[in-house]
Amino acid sequence: MVKVLIPSGALGLGYDRAALARGIAAKPDIIAIDGGSTDSGPHYLGTGTSKYSRNSTKAEWAELMEARAQAGVPLIIGTAGTCGADTAVDWLVEITREIAAERGESLKLAVLKSGQDIEALVHALGAGRITDLPAAPEISASVLRDCTNVVALAGAEQIQAALDTGADIVIAGRTTDTAILSALPLARGCHAGGVWHGAKIGECGALATTSPNSGTILIEFDETGFTMTPMGADARATPHTVSAHMLYENSDPYILYEPGGHLDVRGATYTALDDRTVRVEGSKWVVSDRYTVKLEGARQAGFQTVSLALVRDARYVEHINAWCADIVEKCAAKAQARVDGQFGIELRIIGQNATLGELDSQAVAGTELGVMGIVTAETEALSREVAKMLNPYLLHHPLTEQEEMPTFAFPFSPPEMPRGAIYEFCLNHVLELDDPMQAFRLSVEEIKP
C-alpha cells in the first residue's frame, strides 16, 4: 500500500493547518502538491513566471518543508511556478535554498526541467513526431520559433526518475496534474487503473469532498484500487463527490490521456466505507502504442494599453452602442493619419455584454456603464500613443454635433494603463519520444546549511 498526502490543490491556495497535521500523523509515503496549470492564462508561460506572490509561496512552501521533515518522506511539487517553465522552476529552487538556509537544513534536491529546445522541436515537426490534438491551431516551424517558452508535460516515468535519485524534495517543471501523485504508487506496483484514477481525483486536493477549502486529503493506493480520506475535520468524501470530480476541467468524463496511455473509468465502482471515506475499484489503464508527451507553448501577440471611462448620463447609456462605434471609427481614422504601425482599437461595454460579447442575447444596460478601451499594437510605445488619442474621445465625445461638449467619469489619472506584452497559447500538440527522459533534464543538488 502507498499513502499519498495532498496538502491542497495548488501551492499558494492555502489549506487547513489542522488537516495537514492530521495527514502527517497518518504517516504518508510521500507529500505531493501541484504548482500550477494553464488555467490562469498565457501570460505566465509566455513570461516564465508565477502568478502567486513570492512571499505567499515561500510561506506555504516553508510549512510543507517543515511537514516533510517531520514525516521523513519525499516532498514533490509539479508544474512549479504556475507554468512549469525553466525560469519558474529556478524561482522555486531559489526560494527552497533560502528556506533551507533559514532552517539550517541539509537537503537533497532533485530538479526536473520540462522546457523544450525550439530547434529540436522544429526538427521533430519536420520528422512527423509532433501530432495535433482536437481543436489544435495550425503550427509551423515559424510558430514554434515565435514561442517564448515551450514546455512538455512530464508523466509518471520522469517523476519516478526524479524520485529514484533518493531526493528529499523534487521540484518539477511542467508535469501532468496526475503524474506527481501516480509516480510512487505505480513504481511500487499498485493497480495502474486505480492509481491514475485516484491521482485525477486527488489532483485538486479537497475539491472532490464536501469541504473544498479544507485542502488536505490522503489517498491510499493498493493492488486493486484506491481509498480517499479527507483530512479536514468536517470534510466528507462521498461516492458522488468523488465520481463527480471526473467531470472537472475534463472534456471527457470517462477518459483521461496521459503519457504512455489512457485511463478509462467507465467500469469504476464507488463505495462509501463510512460517511466520509470512499473506495474506488474497477478503473482501467490502457497502454498506448506510442509514448507521447503534450506540449504547451506561448508566444507574444503584441502590446496592450487599456483605458476605463464610466458613463452615467441616461441618454448616453441608452445610445451607448452608437457612441462607441462612432468613437472607434473616428479615433482609428485619426490614429492612422498620425502614427506608423499596426494597431487595433476595441471598446467593451461593461454592464451590457462585456463578458459574453455577441453570444449574449439577454444584455440589458443598467443606470451606468463602464467603457473599457483596449488598444493592441505591435509595440508598447504605439499602444500607449493610440490609447492617448482614444482618451479625449472617452472623456468628451458628443453623441451629436449639435450639443454642448459632455464630460464622462475617468476613475484614474492617467486613464490609460499599459499592460505590457500580451501572449497567446499556440500549441495543443503531442511530441513522440523514444525514451521518456529524452525531452526532460534531471539534476540533483545537495543543499548544505
Binding site: D39, L356, L359, D360, F425
Partner: protein, 99 residues
C-alpha cells in the same frame, strides 16, 4: 417559462485546457435529470455558442444526474478576443435557456 437555472442544482463552465470549454449541468435528482436530458436539444445548445452541432460533445450521465457538454472554446483562452480567462461565465448562457 422555465429556465434551466430554475430546475438544475448547479450549472458550471470551466476551461478544459486552453482550447476546450466544458459545461456541467447538475440536476440533483433522477426526475430533474430525465426532464432536462429530454428537453435539452443539442442543436439549441450549439446555437447558443454559434457553433456547429457536430463539434459539440454531449454526455448524459444518469449515475450523477449530470448533463455535460464539451466544445472547442469560442475563443482560445487568453487570445485578444477572449473575454473570460477561466471560461466560467459561459454557464450563464445555459442557465438562461428555456427548457
Amino acid at each position: 417559462m422555465t429556465r434551466l437555472v430554475d430546475v438544475a442544482v448547479k450549472i458550471r463552465s470551466k476551461n478544459a485546457g486552453p482550447f476546450w470549454l466544458t459545461v456541467d449541468i447538475f440536476c440533483g435528482s433522477a426526475e430533474v435529470f430525465d426532464r432536462v436530458s429530454a428537453a435539452l436539444k443539442s442543436d439549441e445548445v450549439a446555437k447558443l455558442f454559434q457553433m456547429q452541432t457536430e463539434n459539440l460533445k454531449r454526455f448524459d450521465i444518469a449515475d450523477l444526474y449530470v448533463v455535460k457538454f464539451s466544445l472547442p472554446r469560442p475563443q482560445i483562452q487568453g487570445v485578444r478576443a477572449d473575454r473570460d480567462m477561466h471560461g466560467a461565465s459561459f454557464a450563464n448562457l445555459l442557465a438562461e435557456l428555456v427548457v
